[in-house]
Symmetry: C2
Subunit: 163 residues, 2 copies
Amino acid sequence: MAENNYKITAEPGKQEITMIQEFDASPELVFKAYTDPELLVQWLGPRDLTMEIEKFDPKQGGVYRYVHRDNSGKEYAFHGVIHEATQPKRIVQTFEFEDAPGHVSLETATFEELPDGRTRVTSRIVFQSVEDRDSMIESGMERGVKDSYERLSELLERMTVKH
Amino acid sequence: MAENNYKITAEPGKQEITMIQEFDASPELVFKAYTDPELLVQWLGPRDLTMEIEKFDPKQGGVYRYVHRDNSGKEYAFHGVIHEATQPKRIVQTFEFEDAPGHVSLETATFEELPDGRTRVTSRIVFQSVEDRDSMIESGMERGVKDSYERLSELLERMTVKH
């Protein structure tokens, strides 16, 4: 089981969320896991949902859309556009949950090289309002984040040759 | 001279700016002025700068880039991507000043129909941090906003047949 020591910060009254997690893999590999649809589909989202990526084009102006489905077939669809994808440093993209149309957030993920071949990913999400931010938290976001980070750690562990 | 009664709100400690302006033209026409490069170039930015639009594609995933130049030839370049452009209701786009790379904001402009063929445009810009927001204000943003709204009012007046 991969380690999991993520940190989520959401100060009261602010319209942002910051999430930090470290991974036992290089920035190149972690960045790849964030931008290759065949890898992304293996880790993004809660464990009990399946993910289908309809499109995902990790470049400036690229559009993405994906759907999470639960056992009963209920769907949760998301889409956005890529402002920047600079390998292996930074991804900046918009994000919209289609059940809350018109509520858009901006997510910046930075990939920082650490000693011993590790990587720190800092994701900062800014929302159009404090209310939007709080709704996201109340929707049970943390479970999805926790599962995602765990699943990504496990995926990277499978992909990394251990010495 | 067109009227000018814009309102800019930037509460201390928050990472957003809200700007509201009303125009004596229909939402369709105002939206067109925001999304047609041949019109946009006539009003966006301070009066003493010229504007050159390198690309501007007002659709989901569309990329834009434009440059403002002063008399001495000094350039201020900006780029971003369009998350949504729903005629004549809403535009959501990212924004980055190329002299401050990596600092990205998200701007939502909504076009609201008012009585007597008027339109209220509400622009909400959210920044990655309070510091980014404050830097934007300190850069002299208000002069550009004031000039832009005045110039847009004048352009719309020229475009509108008066009864």
